[in-house]
Subunit: 686 residues, 2 copies
């Protein structure tokens, strides 16, 4: 229980929830929806605009294709949602696409999905923050004038928040997400009312501008290609749909059912919002150009580089609610906030995926341990650095960044759907119950259709966007893939080298005797303690060892040794060059040479200090010596610590550090629950 005196600190730092207490917090659907769906829901803030941007290449006349594209995106979205509902039921352990692909299609497929997801996390941060900045900019001009700067400031802020260990709380996510969803529905409703009932003419700020088509009179294959490109841009709305399938353990029971319901709800909301915004954009005559400075014309003259083209959602809001109205500003702020929250989900998703990959030895093992601040921090910094680099290189331009985005998502969609088809095939082969079989066949059909459709989209995306930037994402995936394969190979090689032979071997042949050596620099409490401990260990021989760096000091040491009557022989090593490490190493080696079957136990008194700068002042030669001794075979190195008064501070720090919760805890669900699920799920037995 928290003490009263801790209150101010707890308010500031928020260490109140220990991980074992956290375990009891399971998410109801109304909180799970915003926690997991801020990414896919926020996508509707930029996806409609991307469709119009691509169509504008063929001029405003091509805009009449946009409803068809919206329908295609909606169909795809509903298909993907239906497919993931199957995954949620079949793999409720939270492993998501990686688990599905790895279990059913082998580790290579799993690794491909993992690489795609890692790239996807980076892109989620870059795209969401850029889009958020653009939306915020429609209300606050300063922001859009310093886009890159502001975007990087948001990254820094999110990074610090996550490094500091601010856990996402359900409520924190819920408020802006619900404000955003309500705002968009209010806009759609009010827009429909004004248009259909009142008969108002609503005009977007760009309604009066013309678009100079980059390619005149497109037809035939070229037009189809353009429509496909517009469609694949619209698919940006699907990013993040897989999040719920990774978060099943965090749901209240019945977990799988609740998660599936939330998925369906999310899909319906996203589709409605996407189509509503496209329709309103058509009605209010929003005109978007890929290169607004040159291609947007006011009375036949390009608007020039000073012109800022606001996102579709904010143009529509302006048309429906009126420029500068309260509702317009609230919606712009909620949009930006929900986009930043979407970026934050990547900060939480990364360690979860990293931990699962580490379990399979594709990532450094320490990522496996939950709540390991150090390892987690490295991941956060890597993620933030990569996203900041992309934002810098692409000038925080969400349109250009989206070209890189969708590849990863669809690689992961397609692979996991194919995996699910395999999954059902395998289960059908064993299943005899007719009802269950019918159910499985239906599920297989859904996943097969999902696999077909997402594979098609993946091909479309690759073909239409490869040269526009998708190659960067593909390159990133390859890098992750190669790195993880190399790590796994390293671990396998080491495991082979370390494997214990059956029965006795030369390597572990019983050594015969232990020769203990206590290193002494001068006589003080730490060395006396080390001597006392060493005596207690009852090794076969025991001696104290000092290096003669300074003749006078050594003589003093020797005299004090005699005077105190210490009953351990003191051996003095000469060191004309004032070195400490080399003479000790050479002495240890000579001992081993004399009697190769003996082992040498080197006992080093060590001070424990409290501050990093004190480390610079102490133990440096002890540390170096230890480092070198580790390379010497047949040696064991023992530290006898002596805690200085100042070490108390560091001890407290270490304890606080341990009680720290890794972000992402909420969405993984409590550890005990998860461990149980893993054992119970059929996937665990596969």
């Amino acid at each position: 229980m928290s003490k009263l005196t801790d209150v101010p600190k707890r308010i500031l730092i928020g260490h109140a929830l220990r991980s074992d207490r956290l375990g009891e917090t399971l998410l109801p659907k109304r909180i799970a929806l915003p926690v997991f769906a801020s990414d896919p829901l926020s996508s509707v803030a930029y996806a409609p605009g991307e469709v119009l941007l691509v169509l504008s290449i063929a001029g405003v006349s091509a805009y009449h294709f946009s409803p068809w594209i919206a329908v295609a995106v909606a169909v795809l979205m509903l298909t993907v949602v239906a497919s993931y509902r199957q995954i949620v039921h079949a793999y409720p352990s939270g492993g998501g696409d990686y688990e599905v692909a790895g279990t059913n299609l082998g580790p290579r497929a799993g690794l491909t999905v993992a690489s795609a997801l890692l790239v996807d996390y980076v892109m989620t941060v870059a795209v969401s923050i850029s889009a958020g900045i653009e939306n915020l900019g429609s209300a606050i001009p300063f922001v859009v004038e310093h886009k890159v700067l502001c975007a990087i400031a948001v990254i820094v802020l999110l990074t610090l928040m996550n490094l500091r260990g601010v856990r996402e709380s359900g409520t924190l996510f819920a408020i802006p997400t619900y404000v955003f969803v309500t705002g968009v529905f209010l806009m759609i409703g009010w827009g429909a009312f004004r248009g259909l009932v009142l008969g108002d003419t609503m005009r977007a700020p760009t309604a009066d501008l013309d678009i100079k088509p980059e390619q005149q009179g497109l037809a035939g294959f070229a037009l189809v290609f353009l429509l496909l490109r517009a469609f694949s841009s619209g698919c940006a709305a699907l990013t993040g749909v897989e999040a719920i399938s990774n978060g099943v353990p965090a749901f209240r029971k019945p977990k799988a059912k609740n998660a599936a319901t939330t998925l369906a709800l999310m899909g319906l909301l996203a589709v409605t919002m996407f189509c509503g915004i496209i329709t309103l954009a058509m009605t209010t005559k929003v005109h978007m150009a890929e290169h607004p400075a040159a291609d947007l014309l006011r009375n036949g003259v390009p608007v020039g580089p000073g012109y800022v083209q606001d996102p579709v959602i904010s143009q529509v809001a302006e048309a429906v609610f009126g420029h500068g109205s309260i509702l317009f500003v609230v919606l712009a702020a909620a949009t930006a906030l929900v986009l930043f929250l979407a970026a934050n989900t990547a900060y939480n998703g990364f360690p979860v995926l990293g931990s699962i990959l580490a379990q399979d030895r594709f990532m450094p093992r320490q990522l496996h341990t939950r709540g390991d601040r150090l390892a987690f921090s490295n991941g956060i910094v890597l993620l933030a650095g990569a996203a900041a680099l992309l934002i810098f290189v692409y000038g925080a331009n969400s349109t250009r960044l989206i070209q890189l985005y969708i590849v990863g998502v669809f690689v992961s969609f397609t692979t996991s759907q194919i995996g699910m088809v395999r999954h059902w095939n395998r289960h059908l082969a064993a299943e005899r119950d007719a009802a269950t079989r019918r159910h499985m066949i239906r599920s297989r059909a859904i996943n097969a259709f999902g696999a077909f459709l997402t594979a098609l989209v993946l091909v479309v995306v690759l073909v239409t966007k490869f040269t526009h930037g998708a190659w960067v994402a593909v390159l990133g995936m390859c890098l992750f893939y190669v790195m993880m394969t190399a790590i796994r190979r390293h671990y396998d090689r080491v495991a082979e080298e370390l494997a214990a032979p059956e029965g006795p071997s030369d390597d572990t042949a019983r050594p015969s005797r232990v020769h203990s050596v206590v290193l002494i620099s001068k006589i003080h409490r730490p060395t006396l303690r080390a001597l006392a401990y060493a005596k207690l260990m009852r090794s076969d021989t025991l001696e104290a060892l000092t290096v003669n760096v300074d003749q006078a000091e050594t003589r003093k040491l020797y005299e004090e040794w005699e005077r105190r009557g210490i009953d351990v022989p003191l051996k003095v090593l000469d060191s004309p060059y004032r070195e400490v490490t080399r003479p000790v190493i050479e002495y240890v080696k000579s001992l081993r040479k004399e009697s190769p079957r003996d082992i040498v136990s080197v006992i080093i008194p060590e001070y424990v200090v409290g501050h990093w700068y004190e480390h610079l002042l102490h133990n440096q030669s002890a540390l170096r010596l230890k480092g070198r001794l580790l390379f010497t075979p047949g040696v064991m190195v023992t530290s006898v610590p002596y805690q200085l008064a100042s070490s108390e501070a560091a001890k407290q720090r270490a304890r606080r550090y341990q009680e720290w919760n890794a972000p992402g805890s909420v969405r993984r669900g409590p550890a005990q629950e998860r461990a149980k699920e893993e054992r119970e799920s059929p996937a665990g037995k596969d």
Copy 2:
């Protein structure tokens, strides 16, 4: 002996000389002069210009004071040289000013001198490189157009050279220094011949330019103040004179006498060159202005910011040898090179001073060990960083940097001369022999006069330059002083805390029993080895300990344990949150609580790997656990290393690392010799 196969590598890296072989290289006077005197000799490249710059404030008419200022600087130089000849005889151990001040005036004075010298090293790098760039620029215009960039490039180059461990070789120093000295004397001689014998009129490039005086008709106190300022700028010629007093151990025998002779030679060379250059500058009508863009007039019009004012030495060379002549270019190159070598001396001086300060516990102890690459590297990087910052802030303008330079040197001069007066007073009190007394009284008179004169100059420098930038140097000195005092206080406090009480105490009370715990993650060679070693230690109890992070793995481990019939009990700790550190720490604490007089020996199997990235993949939880265990009282932590095949590479690296020689070795002289000197010198007994 070097193997033939090593030859290409040795040529590249230059590891040929081991420090014990280096010992035999003692410097003859003709090599010692360039090694130690590149700093003071190179000062004549910028000091004359600084005098003219300051005088130009009162207009060209004030230039007729410059011979008087040259005479004053010459007198001061000879006085300082005479004083240092006394120091060289009295303190031949190479401790220099720091030792003199510390021994005779107490540690505070010593620390003041040390702070001054540390600032001085930084300034030497900044000023010498800036001046070198300006001289190089008179031959290569590109260099002077990108001054800051080129200066920082030279710093980076010197830093890399020194980090890599390129030792200065006598010859490397000798060539450019002798070329420079010969060139300057040739210039003076040829100039005198042309002027006096041939009657040529030699005109510097700025001879036709007028100077707009910043202050018209200065007289009385203002004029005196200006002359004093000009004089204190000219004192820049004295920087580095103390170098020889730090290098006595590197001289051939009789060391002190040879060093004193070299000092005298260096003083005469510097004075002649300084006066010669000033005279030639007068003859060839060199006109220098502090702000050339505004104050240099061509036909009454300012020359504007595009004009580059070359240094005096290069203007004189141009007038004497002719623009673009071979000799002019060679002299410019030699001047730049000797200035860069002067900067390099600071890179060598820093670790030498650092090692002496560390011996007195004013600096981290590891600096004490000679050839410690890590500690030395930190010093190099600190020095380079500070110098690069100064160069960046002051735009690589040597004139502005020199304002900061001279304070430190004169603090050190004055303090050590006062120390020498005390030294002679003390020795006179004990000395009875009349001849020796006469000799000592003469020496005391020289040092007293030196102290008086340098103190006067220090006051002049502080008064005339404080607002011009000297405050930065004073601030730097204060920072170093405070830092070193704090380090010393820390070491003293710790020493007090650690002091061993006489007789038995609670603290070192004999513990009664040892409880050994071997940490097991899985059964492989490292753990089997650790178990074998642990058994050999014959502690009172021995058990194996594993943390149950994954139920299935733990069960497998337990089964294998049974199957192999390992005769050590295996204890399993539960860890519902997949932590490793906390359960172990808590178990160790509980053992200690049960029997507080026992100690716990924790034995950790460790892999030894060869590459830094492998460290990321292994031992992380072992390292963290070790870190935490050190805070737990009554524990000893033992590493049992298992060398992986890849560790061989790291072992080789560590060995190479150890054979690395710290730069500055040549100027410190061989270690054995030095140790002997220290024991023999009268200062050692003081």
